[in-house]
Each structure stands twice: as structure tokens, then as C-alpha cells.
Point group: D4
Chain length 254, copies 8
């Protein structure tokens, strides 16, 4: 609620056009659906342009389904991430038309897809083992109304693979770079493009990769200016942030 | 060099309008100034819209000055970060017109300031001790042609301070959130605004803050969607990334 | 044994009313039941108001059952935490009337429930995945004679959910706040209430959450004054400490 | 602001007894004093019973003094912690009557001391080197209106020292236990008393104490039920939490 | 080979009583049995008083059996630690008379037991879950010719359990103290006895116990003088070191 | 492409003997085979003397097979490491003549073996449990055209085992030393030989070995001059580096 | 107090030969001297054979002196460790006859030295930089009545240095091994001697030695059986434990 | 001593041409010079081609000088690393002809320089702040008889700087790559050259670089095959290992 809306609301109250209890209710935020085990945000689509996203890990298949129902009913659009096979099966029995992306472990349910923004997001990954995370980023960005270009397996040990795709990358509005092991790819990319680079470390590697910590530290210490970083394996977060940035670009253009 | 430019260059070569050695030189990247101890990028302003930025820590005052001279000569614009008192004094003897920001530990030198883009970047910090990092972000963003709104000392332990500035924050194109200790502020902000949020952990704290690690981990694990993170105390990186995003918004609008 | 009791006992000895061996025995603490693999405290209920609690992890189902029998026989009240399915089944074959709480993984066995103290403990959690830990805290507190109000899924990314329940929280004597990921909820709560806040980090999260370390560090570095912290996933410890505090309040009132 | 207060305020608005802008101001939280570099909470004494406490580390002597002035003016009571010698000297030039506690590194300024609550808080420490932290806890608790009993240098390597003071400890409402090195003292104390135990790890030690991490981990993993923990060297936090608990006990009694 | 033995050997060589190749062989250490995958020390019993001990983890059942055969043949005494069920079954098919200790996961094979030394080793543990490690220590010490007194489940949260067994502990030549969680027991024991204390941290615990790191750090930082520490869960190492110390005591006595 | 080759190519272009698009193609590096999920380097054998090696972990059996086919077709030689049983079975159905090394978890496929270089690489390991890593190093080195001498189970706790093999080790061109636990073997070996020593820490150990970290740190801090280190369990990397060094020796000799 | 002593005391009480208050005092442990900031153990010499040792770090010079006076008065023997220059100067002004060991940073004050036990303790160190820690161990052991043989700078990178001193080492009753960097020396020594080996990691090293952590981990994971470990730089602890062991050997012999 | 030499020596003994004590002496390694605080290896030049190198950190200026004298006397060549200003001044008063390299913090003293081997070692660094470490590597390699090519400030954020020097790098026998921050340069270099790459992480960076840990992990996890790594800031180790490899190449050629 903006300041103007608040003054407007209070003015209505003074004029007796709304009741004090109604004003209190609106100021108290009863815009949630209380399921007991969950307190679903029922108006996030309105406030932030996309409904609350369900992170399925650590929830029962039944909990996920009931939260999805609450959001579907109010928003007509649901994105679920980190679905296990079992959770996905349960959800798809309930929602026959849901699109399930096994590599990305995401499920998308929508009355109709969002219109695509102009421009695109490039999603790069360093190796074949990084694909699940890269796909989570790509599917998230697509579900949120963005076009995506995938540029996979272009790690720094074979630079010519990356340089061969440079034009496609440079034309993007935002670049997501997914890499495990030493996580060096974002630094190299940031030196070659002038657009925002979002780095996603993955848990790909062994030994002193410490489940993605080596890649994470590499990205946080990137000598490439302007690289920002999300959590290990957090493809969703990168896709979401990239969508916010791309939306900003689109707004300006329209 | 884009593909089109390359084909153009090669076409010129075939027509005998340039010499093979010249083409080799251009392909080999002699766009650097070699100072022996440093290999300065002489055309970054051209390629990325802003010249190479000098990170002064670990360099002698003399090295910093000589690199600054090389960039100044070719680009007419220099930004130096993490200056010690001594380095700053040395630089200012050489460049009398340089603007020095002691709290931010930055120095800006410019023939004429860049024109300001439409829209602004909000820079928030949680506590008074976070000011140096917040100022580094703000000065960087300003030097790169952005307007900045500062919203300081609005940590989550006194929510009303943050909520009282909410409108100003929501109107920004990008929000930089600087916080030490538990680093909770970006999560709360991300839940309240729909714009990209860049989180900067600081080394403010003691004991189990581990020099900013607690804040860094808090931000990487933020439950607020779309939060991206830079290194501990890296105000510069946040300002740079925010500027890239703001530029994207401005481009669209123009 | 207080100093007064000791002098009393020694006085009795001097008067020949007790034997030296009896005094030695009482000073040596034979108030334990030795099972070989366990040395059960047989009088903790007397000393601390609640019998020894059995932590089942790492014990065989048989060991748990035999310890429970020893406590049950002397104290008439048993609380077991961190029960596996198998251990629970074994115990319930032996104690038909035991109440088992699968989400909390706790079992309570009591001749008659403790009378409820005045006032209540609020148990908050940030997300649905934190429920098992929150329930362990709640069940522990209830078993120890406290009333509990549950306020679940009120994480900081959607502040209005928390603010909507603020009155209920502010009226509690003690507030337990359970959160994973960045663990920011206790800081926000501590800024809004004037009562003791006990923070419980959970292992909910992935990547740089490091099994709950991010939340733990966040809580230890909380900018909210008066937040105290227990081990990761230690719902029991929080429930126990909250009960001690609530007992103190109740004592004063009576 | 409670719900009742809010409805009351809105009712006044409807009756035209207050202006909409005034209501907006109160809802927006202009209860802060904006110093530019700090946003001081001007009514915390009202809301939480004690004014905002100033943590001096990382602030300039001038910043500390100006924040102290703002709080002093509105609340008539100031507590500053983690003062350097230099900051303390600067503050005392401004506030001649301030009481400065060099070992605790705290400064207390008050029109008149708070009345003392019934009952007391016991502050224990394991070794002589832990004194600064223990004193920070004690001075904090005293400044907040509590009586304190100090029991120092009673580490577990010489159990008879602790057992000799047991009665004094058992009579306390809350027990603060400060220890470095292996941090074992809280576990032993928690097994001997039935009151809430707040453990404070200190950075006393060397080598594998890792600046207090060993003690911190020891306390978080305490086998003594009901031990809660604060950050390394956070005597203030322990004193504050103990005061909240003691206040609860006092409220009940009155 | 002592210096005296070496001179003796070289003297024999000069006198022509041994061949140069034989001397070379003895100096080169052909006292090993080469199995290709293992290089078994065939004379350790002679050199150190007990044959090479087989650590079974990470070896195949077949490899363990073949190494055991090589040692058995030359030394007539075999100790195997960290046996899986499967490895144990395989070994017992080959060596029908082997004594297997499932809780300790050890197997002992001996033509005849070693005579018991005078005096005994006390093996303490803090909780029931520490039993496997305590038993590994006890079985190792017994196999090496020592008498052992077991004192189990005497953790510091119930001090009277420990104090009740104090005489038995004080009479030992060496005390092994096994504990998980915060690992405080060795500190308390070291303050009560004047004998060498060997501390064994265990991986018992959860959350911030980090698989035994909390206990390990606690023991390394013990305020009790003279505590030495072995690796997490290394009951074998503690039993071995205790046996060396006890042997020293016995030697002196005889 | 060397500078000479580039000038040559450009000269050809000027003379009209090649097309600009062909030159662009060669400069852009279309020497890759794009499989969508993988971007295979098709000429690494030409550039670096050995084709791209397939790291199988984290790839599906199908992905591994398709990448192997692409390399096989162009290079006639394939090395796959870190194969699971299932991946190996799948590959061997496709490539009947592949040699599979189960202990090393490697698969080698070659039209004809590379000729062996003069001199050899010594591969040492400290214990039987280190064999899989040592074998990965040995098989890699052999597949790349080197002779290998294996010296296994020569850990420092029984120095005579190592000293007995010293001549064989000293005659090698390069020495690979594989060790877990405390990782002390490379330090001792480096003090005894004058050749390059490559240290490979393994994850063998438990407790405070932290999955190989103890061995890794030991090797990085080796007091033996000239020891270089690879990742934990990275037998492949050590074999590859040793082969590069051995090749350098062989080149000189020829 | 042993059980026999307790019964004796209680018997005296029954017979009226002592007062109840006296018995209470003795059971309560008034065998301490309370200095306010310290609670000195006044009878440790009686109980454990050596008075309480003063660890000077973190104490003021004045505190150290006052504690020393209390111990000196009752025990006639004082050992102070980790003295700074300033603390040492202050102490020596008070105790003119104190022997100060600057390399070991220890001070010894004794009416007359303890008689030396038969047998000796060998103190080894790996490099010259380890001397301060080795000397702390040696001076401690000597002050406690042991003969010491120093064997310095015998690190594993030059094995012949160690082997040249082997006889001297093998004849010791206990061996203390001090080493920084990778901490490999104890493993090698433990394989060559049959006596207890106490390993002391030092903070000597840089980079990935992490202030002694690499050495500490190396020693905890030692493949040499029977190695026990103390804290980083804890020469005192090693000397104390070695003295306890040597005392055991001596007792047996007498 | 090789086996042949040993047999020869023993044969001489049998023939009475040497005394047993002489043989014992040679087998016992009296090839050391015992300075009490140091045990100098007097024949390392003979055994390994270069005398023992003195690591000055943690030694007094006097100790360094005396060790240097011992080596100088026997070997006529001394290399000292990690010299402080003060140590350097002290050494140069004693050795007037010593060459001191302040940036590398090395001192070289030689009767006559070693002849240079054919071929060269390339030393790269990523940024100007890495120069001290790069120079330590270069000076070490030069002192050991190698030619060195320096290629400085070629970090991955400006790839064209590196590509512009590629030929020079590819022609080297060995490549040392020095980098701080994310440490990505070795991965990129390893993909471009076919020679051994030795990576040196530096402590350049801040925040999550953790004193070089980020760079170290990046290098250990390098996706570039054949990269080996040394300790953080260990320029000496890299120079030494590169010299060993280069020597191998030179031997072959001669």
C-alpha cells in the first residue's frame, strides 16, 4: 500500500465510507490463506507480478498439493520447484494439465502463459553435469514471461567453445552463468559482456569442492566487475532475479 | 570485436587495404598499456561504457598513480577504490582536481561527470557501522552516472524505521542493501519491493560473525526471492552491478 | 542438598540418629539406577521438577525401553525425544497408554498430566518445513505443564503474515522462534516484543545453509537484543528452557 | 501499537478528532530521530522498558556522542557498550556524570537509577581472563534494574570451587555462565540448578579455541537441559536476556 | 636395530661371518611380507611388543583375511578393528576360534592371551550412545594385556553419577574418557584424578556437534592439565596409548 | 594456432586462396561437436597430444556413451574416469573392445595403444585403502603412453617398507604419492628423491580427517621442497600431470 | 578426599571430635583462596603432586603477581606460563629469585627444586621455528621433576637427522614431538619407538597451515598407533602429561 | 646412498679398508651440522643438486645468519626466503655480496651463478598485487639455474591481455600461474597450453577470499587437466618444483 493509497483509505474512513474494522483488516494484512501448516500469500501476484512460488523440499506431497490449490484458486498460476518424483506424481494426479520438467525438477501450471517480454536471458553452464541447475533457472525465467537462450557446456578449460557463442551471449539483456568445480566461468564472461551477470555455483565436483563451496567462493571473489551470486544450486533464484531485471528493461522500452 | 566487424576487417585485408601485421595486432589485443607491473586495459570505456576501475589495496602508492595516469590519458575518467590515506595523498598531489571520499575510501577523477540516467538506485544500510561500505556502493554508482538515494540505519530490530521509508525504496529501479551481523535486512526488503535487490554483507559484528561470514550466509540463504549477493564489504561490486541494471532500464526508456 | 540440609544431616549424625555409612551414601549420590549401559538419574523429578528426559538417537530400541521403565517406575512420567519409527513401535508395545507425536518424534507417558501454568508460550516457525522442530518444542513445553500457542509459517519474506499475529505473540510470557535458511525471524520478532525470545535454527535449506549453520550464525549475531539460541534442530532444548522461564513467571504470580 | 489502540485511533479519526496526516505519521513510525548516519529509536523505553542501547564498536566517538545525546534527551537513560578508551573519554567530556566501567567497557548515564527488582541474577565465570565479559553482563543487568551476585573463577577443573558456592547460585532467578576454552561450565551448572541458564562463550584461549568457537560449540551441544547461548563475548546480550526473564519473575510476584 | 646391534653386525661382517648381501638385506628392511596390495610388517611384535593391527575400513573382506593370515602365521596374534558385519563373517569362516565383539566391532585371534599386567585402565563414557567407542578402547586394551574397569554413562549433567565412582577411577593407572556432544567430561575428570587422562571425542550429537568436532575442540581446549586427545571415535588409539603407558608402569614395578 | 600459422593464414587470405568465412570459422573455433547437452572438443588430441577425457560422475550413462562416440569417431582414443558399474556396463555394450579397470573405475578405448615413452613414473600409496586412487593415477598415466611402477602400502608408520623400495623410486622421472589420513608420505619421499613429487590426498580416514582435508592440508604444508598437490582423490589429475612432465623428459632425450 | 577419609571424618564427627561446621567447611572445599578476581586452589600440590599452574595470558601483571603470591605462600613452588615481557618484569621485581626462561616464556619459582625422577623425557621438534613451544614443554617437565633430552630440528624432510638420534629417542620413557606445517614427525617417530608419543602441533607455517590446524589434523589422523595430541602450541600440556606418565614409571620402579 | 654404493661400502669394510665406526657414522647420517637450535643438512647440494634453502620466517636474524654461514661454508651457495627487512639487513652486514630482492623478499648468495638450462619457465600472475609471490617464484627458479619469462597482470577479467602473450607462454617448458581472488587463471591457461601448469594461490583479496582459501580451492578444483597446486603464497615451492621439471627436460636434451 503506497502512502497515497493510505491517505485515500483514511480519507474514506473520515467520510464514513468505510468501517474502522475494514481499515484495520486491510492494515493487518488478512491477505493470507491460513492452512494451519502454511500461511499462503494470496495476493503476491498483485503485489509483485508473480504468485508465491512453492519450494517443495521438506514438505509432504500432500502439503505441496494443498498449497498449490490455494494459490491456483486465487492466482491461476503456480510454479513449484525442487519436486521429487513422488511429489510430482501426486501433483499431476490433481492437476492434469501441469507441465512437468524432470531435469529442472519444476512443475508449471497456468491458465494461460504470460506474454513474452522483448529481449532475452542467456543461460550458460560450464559442464554437462550442471544441466539440472541451468534448467531450473531457464524454466523459472520462462514461466515468468521471458525468452531464454541456452548455451551449455562452455567451461573455461576449452575457451574456444565459449568464444564461438560470444555474439549470442552479448546480445542478451541478462546473463546467468552456472558452474561447479572452480566456478571460473562467470569471471571470464563478465570480462566479455557489458550486461548484468548472475552467477550460480553448483555442487558439481568432489573432494575440495566441498559441495559447491569452492565454486561459490570463486564467484564471490570474481575479478569480473558486476558479478552477483546466488546460493549453491539455486537456479530458481537466478531465474527470478534475471526476470526482475529483464522486466525493468522491458518496462523502459514499452 | 563482433563477427560483423571481423568479417569487415578480413574483407579489408583481402582487398589489400590493411596489412596482415595490422590485422594480427588487432586480433592479438594490443589494446593494453604494458607498465611491466601492470597491463592496463586501454579501451574498456569503449567496450563496457566505463574505464577499468583501480582496486588500490595491495598496490604501492606509486603503482596506483601510474595506472591512474595511463587510464586518465586514454579515457579521461578514473575511479579508484579501497584507497589508504597515504595512497590518496599521493594521488591527489598528482591529480589536483580529484574528488576524494574518505568514508567510502574512493577517489573520482573526471574531465566532466557522466550525465545522470533517469530513475535512481536506493542504497540501504542496517546500522551506522555499515556506512563505509554503503558509501562505497553509492559513490561508485554516482560516478557511473546514476542518481542515488541513501536510506541508512534501518535494521530489522526496529522495523518501523524501515517501513517509514518504504515508498522511497519501492520507487527505486534497483535496491542495494548493506548489512552486517545476521544480515537479515535484504530478506525483509525483498519481501516488500518488486525490484532487483543486491545484498552486500559487511564485516560488522564480532565473535560468531566471523568477519562477515554470518551475514554472507544469511544473504545467500535468503528466503526473499531474487536476492543476489556480492562479496563481504564489496560496496563497489554492488554499485557496479546496480549501475548495469539501471543502464538497462534507461536504455529501454530512451 | 542445600547447606541447611547438610548441616541438619550432620547434626543427626552427631546425635547418632543416622549411621555414617548412610551419610556417606547420601553424599556419594546413590540416587542412580545402574543398568550397566546406563546410569539413570532416579530423583531428577524431585530435584528439578521434571524427570530425566530420554534422547533416543544412538540408542537401541531395547535400551530406550529399559531406561524408560526405570524412570517410569520411580517418577511416573517419561518424555522420550528423537524417536525413530522402530523405537516408537517397541516402546508402545510395552507402554500401551503412551501418547506418540509422529511429527515431533516425541513420546509422552504420564500417570496424570501436570497442571497447566497460567500464561502461555508462543511457538513460531518461519516455514512449513520447520514444523517438526517447532512441534518438538511445543510438545516438550506441553508435557512440562505449559500452555502453547502455535504460530506457523510466518517467515520474514512476507511480513504481513507475522504482523497479523502480533498481538497473540506479544501476550506470551516467552516466545520460541524456529527458522531455517537465513534464520532472520528471531531478529524481527525480538524487535517487536518485550519478552524473552529463544531462537531455534533448523537444518532446513540447501547449499550454503550448511545443515543449519547459516541460520545458527544469523541467530547468534542477531541485532535484536535478548535473543538466546539453542543447537540446530533442538526443539526440545527450547521447549525446556521456555518452560523454566514460564515456571519462574508462574511462581511469582502464585 | 496494539489492535485496541489502532481501533481507538481510527475511531478518533472518524470523529474528526485527529487529522489523517497525523494518523499516517503515527502509522509510518516517525518515532525515530534521523541523524543522517543514524536513525535513533526515540520511544524504545516506552515500548520495551529500556531505551535503545548503543553498541560503540565501529562508530566514531562523535557518532556515539550524538546518538547518546538524542537518547538522553528523550529517555533520560543511556547505556553504551564496547567503548574504547578514546570513545569513553569523548563521552565523559560531554556527560560529566556518566558512570564508566573500564573492565566491562560500559558507560551508564541515568537521571536516576531504576528501582531494583526482587530476586537476583547470578553471574558466574570460569577463569580470571573471562572477567571483562562477565562484567559486561553484570553491569548491563544492573543498569536495567536487577541485583547481581558475582561468582568468579569457578571453572570445572577445580570442581570444589563451584560446589562451595552452590547455594548462592541455586537461589538465583537466572544464572549467567561465562566461560572460554572448552566452555564446559554451563553443562555442569545446568545439572545442578533448576533455573534458566544463559551461557556466554568467550574468546579466551588459543590454538584450537578458534577465538571462542570451541566454547561456543561446547555450549550449543551442552548435555545440560535448558541451556541457551549467546554470541561469543556477548556479555551484554546475556545480561539483557537475564533481565527480561527476571522482570517476568518480578511481575508475577508483585 | 640399536647402534650396538649395528656395530655388532658390521663387526661380524668384517670378520667374514655374514655376507654383505645379508647385511644389506637386514639394513633394507626385508622384514615385510609383500602381498601386492599390502606390505605387511612381519616383525612388529618383536619390535613393539604387539603385532600390526588391521584397520578393516576401506579394505575388502578378502584383503583383510589375507593380511590376517600373514600376521597370524608370523605372530600368532591378530587384532582387527572397524569390522563390518560382512568382513567379520568372512574372517570367522577362516578363523573359527576368533573372538568377535560386535559392539566394539573388533575381532581378536590369539594362540594364548597375553598375561595381564598389574594395575588397571579405567574406561569412562559420558552417555549410552558412546558405548561402541568405549568398548573399542576397552577391547583393545584387554587384547594388549591390560585389565580394564568400565564406568559408563557418567556425563557431567548429573555429576553425582561420576562422583559416586570416583574411588574406582582414582585407583587406575590411566583413565580413558569417552564423550560426545560438548565433550566436557575429561576436563572434570582431569581435575579430580592425578593420573594421565586420554580423551576420546565421539561423533555422538547432532547439529552444531558437526560429527564430533565440538567434542574434539572441547577436549583440545580442556582447562584440565594433562589431558591428551585422539581422533574422533578413535577408541583403538586411546586403548593402544593407554596400554603403552600401563606397560611403562608395570615395567617399573617388576 | 601459433602466430606464424596465423600470419600464414592471413597471407593466404590476402592472396585469395581462402575465403573470409573460412578464416572466420577457424578463428572462431568451430572445432567442437555440439550435442546440445555437451560441446565436445574435437581436436584436443591434435592440440594437446591426448583427446578430451570424459569425467563420468554426474552424467547419465547415455550422455557418457554419446560423448564417447563423438570423441572415438574423431580421435580414435577415449579415456573415461569415475565410471559407475552401470555406466561401465552401458559403455561396454556399445564398445566391445573397451578395457575396463574396476579398481581404478576407468575405461580405456583405443585403436592402438600409444607407444611407451622411455623412463617411468612411480606411483606410491600409503595404505591398502588408497588403492583405488593410486590405480586411477596409474591407469591414466599408462593410457597416455607412460610406463608405471607401482609401490603400494609403504606408509610412514613403518619406514622400513619405504626405504626397502628406495632405489626403484629414485630412478623414476616423476613420483606420484597417494596417501590419506595425515598425508605425511609425500614429505618423507620428497626428502629422499630429487625428482618432481606430485601428492594426491585421499578421503581415506575418519573423524578429523574430514573426508581428506587433513591429508590435503598436510600435503600443501609439506616441508619437503617441490611437492605439488592435486584435489582429494584426484588420481586422474596426478597421472595427467605426471605424463606431461614425463613427456617433457622424453622430448629432450629423443 | 577418599571414601576412607570421608568415613574417618564422619566417625570423628560422631564422636564429637570435630564440629559439624568444620566438616561442612571441608566438604564444601574452602581449600581455596578467594582473591575476588580469582579463586586459587590452595592444596593442589597435596592432591595432585604439583601446585596450580598460572596461565598468564589475558591476565594483568598485577593479577598474575597476586595469584603467584597466594600459591607461593601455601605451596612454596610456582610455575607461570605464557608470560609477556611486561608480566615477567613485574613478577621478577616481586620475586627476585625466580628463574625466567624467555624462549619458553615460563617462570619458575621454587624453595628447592623437586628431586629428579629416574628415566627421561625426550622433547623433539621438527624445525628451528618450533623452539618456543618445545622449550615450554621441556621447562614444564623439568620444573615438575623430570630429566629432559632435547632433540631439535629433526623434521621429516631430512630423515637422516632423525635416524641419527634414534637411540637417544628410543631410550626415553615418553617422547614429546613438536611440529608445525604438516605435522608429520609424530607419525614417523611413533613407527620407530615403542613408548608413548605426545604430539604438539605448532602454529608455525603460513597459508593453508591455518595457524596450526594442518599440523593438528595431521597428528589427530596419525597412522602411527598410540599418538595422543594436545592443543596447538600447548607445550605446557605436553610437558605436564609426560610428567604424569614418567611419574607412573618411576613409582613402579621405586 | 644407492644400493650399489652401500654394497661397495660394505665390501670395503669386509676387506678392512674402512673401520666399522666410519661405516656406522655414514649410515647414521652425520652429514649434518648441529647448531643446537638447528641441524643443518650439509650435503643437500650433493644429493639434490641445490643446497638446503633457509625459510627465515619465525627465526631470529641471528639464527638465520648462523645457518647461512654453515651452508655457505660447505656449499658455496645460499638461498634465503621470506626475509624481513631486519633479517635482510643483518645478513647483508655479514655477506656483503649477497643479492637481495625486496619485492620477492629473497636473498641469494653464490660463489658463481649456476649455468642456465636450455628452455625457460614462464611465470604469470593475474594482478599487480600478486607480484611479491610471482617474484618469489621467479627469483627461486633463476637462482636454481633456470631462465624465466615474466608475464604479469593478465587476469581472466580481460582475456585479451592473456591471449596477447599466448605464444610466449606456449613455448615455455613449465608454466607457473600466480593468482589471488577466485584463482581462475590456471584453469584458463591449462586449457591453452600443453605443458605442466603449477598454480600458486595468493592471499590477495578480502572478505570471502579468506586469506587465499578461495583461490586455493579454485585451483584444486580446476577443470583444466594437469594443474598441480602449492600452498597459498608459496612462490618458492612453485619455483622449486618448476626447476625440478625443467631440469628433467634439460637432462633429456643434453
Amino acid at each position: 500500500m503506497t502512502s497515497a493509497e493510505l491517505l485515500e483509505l483514511l480519507e474514506q474512513l473520515r467520510q464514513g465510507r468505510v468501517e474502522p474494522t475494514e481499515v484495520a483488516r486491510r492494515l493487518r494484512g488478512e491477505s493470507t490463506v491460513d492452512l494451519g501448516f502454511a500461511c499462503v500469500d494470496a495476493r503476491r501476484g498483485l503485489r509483485q507480478g508473480f504468485p508465491e512460488v512453492i519450494y517443495a523440499e521438506g514438505k509432504t506431497a500432500d502439503q505441496v498439493t494443498r498449497i498449490a490449490e490455494a494459490i491456483w484458486k486465487r492466482e491461476g498460476r503456480v510454479l513449484v520447484t525442487r519436486l521429487s518424483e513422488e511429489q510430482a506424481a501426486r501433483l499431476r494426479r490433481r492437476f492434469r494439465k501441469a507441465a512437468y520438467y524432470p531435469m529442472a525438477r519444476c512443475l508449471v501450471l497456468e491458465r494461460k502463459p504470460l506474454p513474452k517480454r522483448p529481449g532475452y536471458i542467456a543461460v550458460l553452464c560450464a559442464g554437462t553435469s550442471d544441466l539440472p541447475v541451468a534448467e531450473e533457472a531457464a524454466v523459472t525465467a520462462e514461466a515468468m514471461g521471458n525468452r531464454v537462450e541456452r548455451v551449455f557446456d562452455v567451461g573455461v578449460a576449452g575457451l574456444h567453445r565459449l568464444l564461438g557463442k560470444l555474439e549470442l551471449i552479448r546480445e542478451a539483456n541478462v546473463v546467468i552463468v552456472v558452474a561447479g568445480m572452480e566456478g571460473a566461468l562467470p569471471s571470464v564472461v563478465a570480462g566479455l559482456v557489458a550486461r548484468p551477470v548472475i552467477a550460480v555455483p553448483t555442487s558439481v565436483g568432489y573432494g575440495a569442492s566441498f559441495g559447491g563451496v569452492a565454486a561459490l567462493l570463486g564467484m564471490l571473489n570474481s575479478c569480473g566487475s558486476g558479478v552477483t551470486v546466488v546460493n549453491i544450486d539455486n537456479g530458481f533464484g537466478a531465474g527470478f532475479a534475471a526476470s526482475q531485471i529483464n522486466a525493468l528493461a522491458a518496462e523502459g522500452r514499452s
